[in-house]
């Protein structure tokens, strides 16, 4: 029984006896009624003040902004997109550069002290070290004392370097040739981290080292590549002495433009004889923006063949069906790619 009923009973009992006069009908509270409970609980709609601007912002990034919610949770579409992006990121980390890929692209293949991909992931220190035999091979087979030594490492996304490294190397070589820079023999390091440029660069006596490496995949980019440029590569070089060019992929900086931009940075490195934070790039033109039109949202984010077969095809890739005419995808021909292997 509520207290109110209790008091009502008591009041009725009292009015039958002697206490006080019969109470008047209960007056409504003279004050303005309290703000209603329902009013407090109703979620206040907060429409975007400028829906067109919001759409523009949403279209400008693969990041999940303005996705709304269902109660306290993501909408199903957002959740599925998260799962898709996460799967793409995982697949990129697990992707491997196939045997023979380096030779096909004119690179000398070596491997770090990490014996396999799994050890590479759990022992990051091994990915920074090269066994003596690898260095000996580099000294024997590579051109000595080049102006620029290029190293390609799989890093955390083999997909990325397979897709973008060949185009960037071609563009970089072309631009460097204009300045008369001598390019060394390219090296591919399996299970490598960016530090290996210092080791390879020192082994060949290069003046500038360039490493192209697969970036750690994020949600929305499994195929990002970075380039690190270093003056006078030596093992004691720190990360602060490396110049980074990041987000090289089809939705960011195109590999071709990245190559041209890297050549300009390399010229600045030669001129100033330093790299990294001490390098003054204020006179340099910014790289020419995006590779392509702003990327569309939702599922089209990975419409390009992230797990393709590594070659440009005149027609659809017979192995993976992912490849599109004129595009490069992630595996060599004759070898099933992950997409078709798991299909």
């Amino acid at each position: 029984m509520s207290t109110r009923r209790l008091m009502q009973e008591l009041r009725q009992a009292a009015s039958r006896h002697h206490v006080a006069a019969a109470p008047a009908p209960r007056p409504a509270s003279s004050a303005k009624p309290a703000r209603g409970a329902s009013e407090l609980e109703r979620p206040r709609p907060r429409p975007a003040s400028d829906p067109a601007l919001l759409e523009k912002l949403k279209a400008s990034t693969p990041a999940k902004i303005g996705v709304g919610r269902a109660g306290l949770r993501y909408r199903t579409q957002t959740l599925l997109q998260f799962q898709t992006d996460f799967a793409v990121a995982k697949a990129a980390v697990e992707s491997q550069v196939p045997e023979g890929w380096a030779e096909e692209h004119g690179l000398l293949p070596i491997q770090t002290e990490a014996v396999d991909a799994e050890q590479f992931l759990v022992r990051p220190d091994l990915g920074r070290r090269l066994p003596e035999e690898a260095l000996r091979l580099v000294r024997e087979r590579c051109e000595r004392s080049p102006d620029v030594q290029i190293v390609v490492a799989d890093g955390l996304s083999a997909t990325a370097v397979m897709q973008h490294a060949p185009s960037m190397i071609a563009s970089l070589a072309e631009s460097l040739a204009v300045h008369g820079r001598r390019l060394g023999t390219g090296v591919f390091v399996r299970h490598g981290r960016s530090k290996v440029i210092d080791l390879v660069g020192e082994a060949v006596g290069a003046r500038v080292g360039v490493i192209l490496i697969g970036e750690r995949p994020g949600l929305g980019t499994g195929d990002g590549m970075s380039a690190y440029l270093v003056w006078d590569p030596r093992p004691e070089r720190t990360d602060a002495e490396k110049q980074a060019i990041s987000n090289i992929h089809r939705r960011g900086l195109s590999p071709e433009e990245a190559g041209r931009h890297a050549a300009r940075v390399i010229e600045a490195i030669f001129a100033q004889q330093t790299s990294g934070v001490k390098l003054d790039l204020r006179g340099l033109p910014a790289p020419q923006g995006r590779a392509s039109e702003p990327k569309p949202r939702v599922n089209q984010a990975h419409a390009e063949p992230l797990l393709g077969c590594g070659q440009s095809h005149g027609q659809s890739c017979p192995q993976c069906r992912e490849g599109k005419p004129g595009r490069t995808c992630g595996r060599s021909e004759g070898r099933p790619c992950q997409a078709s292997a798991s299909a």
């Binding site: 029984m1 509520s2 207290t3 109110r4 209790l6 008091m7 009502q8 009973e9 008591l10 009041r11 009292a14 206490v19 006080a20 006069a21 019969a22 109470p23 008047a24 209960r26 007056p27 509270s29 004050a31 309290a34 703000r35 209603g36 409970a37 329902s38 407090l40 609980e41 979620p43 109660g71 306290l72």
Partner: protein, 220 residues
């Protein structure tokens, strides 16, 4: 206003802080990382809000992280929105806090009322029976969640006289006593027992308060 007419509390101000500053949360003694959102409410009757805050903990995933009465009561409030109490609910997200505040306001509107002890309403009291304690008052009273409790508050002399009457009227025991003076200079006690016993005690308490208020100076 007549004897035993309800005096409905007025909610004076409410606000929800969706993500409270952590240092402010810490100053109020709660973990702002865990309880992100806070709900604030002021009301012109302190005991009604204490009961309503407890009710809120039964309806939403909220904790009462602060509830204090103001000195001298709502007739001497510092401002029109001050009343005589500030209560703060905290929860893991704003939706929960909004639900908690909603339950709190509903309870104030429909249940947690003061009552007039005399014909002109110049003496009021709070003979509130809680059939099932929430997380807040159970902690304050040292009772288990779900136990019944009589929350009996009145003006100083009436409170002593009427709590005694309540304790004698039913199988109830005194859990916590609030002697005068208090911030608002009301006084009273928490009693517990079976629900029926609590109800009988509240009725006896009310009758005793009304008796004093309608005839303060009894010739002997």
């Amino acid at each position: 206003m007549g004897v035993l007419d309800p005096v409905v509390p007025r909610v004076l101000a409410t606000r929800i802080i969706p993500r409270i500053d952590r240092s402010l949360a810490a100053a109020f003694g709660f973990d702002g990382d865990r309880l992100n959102a806070a709900g604030l409410i002021t009301c012109d009757l302190d005991d009604a809000l204490y009961a309503a805050l407890d009710e809120a903990t039964k309806h939403a995933g909220v904790e009462v992280v602060f509830a204090r009465s103001f000195y001298a009561g709502s007739a001497h409030a510092s401002g029109a929105t001050s009343g005589e109490i500030l209560g703060i609910l905290a929860g893991t997200d704003p939706e929960e806090v909004a639900r908690g505040l909603g339950a709190c306001v509903r309870c104030l509107e429909s249940e947690a009322h003061f009552y007039s002890a005399n014909a002109d309403g110049s003496v009021t009291f709070f003979p509130h029976v809680i059939s099932s304690l929430g997380h807040y008052l159970s902690r304050e009273a040292g009772l288990a969640v779900g136990e019944p409790m009589a929350y009996l508050i009145a003006t100083p002399l009436e409170s002593v006289y009427a709590v005694d009457a309540a304790l004698k009227a039913a199988e109830v025991r005194l859990v916590k006593h609030f002697p005068p003076p208090t911030e608002t200079n009301y006084a009273g006690a928490y009693l517990t027992g079976s629900l029926e016993a609590c109800e009988a005690a509240a009725k006896a308490f009310a009758a005793a308060v009304v008796e004093v208020a309608t005839e303060p100076r009894r010739p002997r």
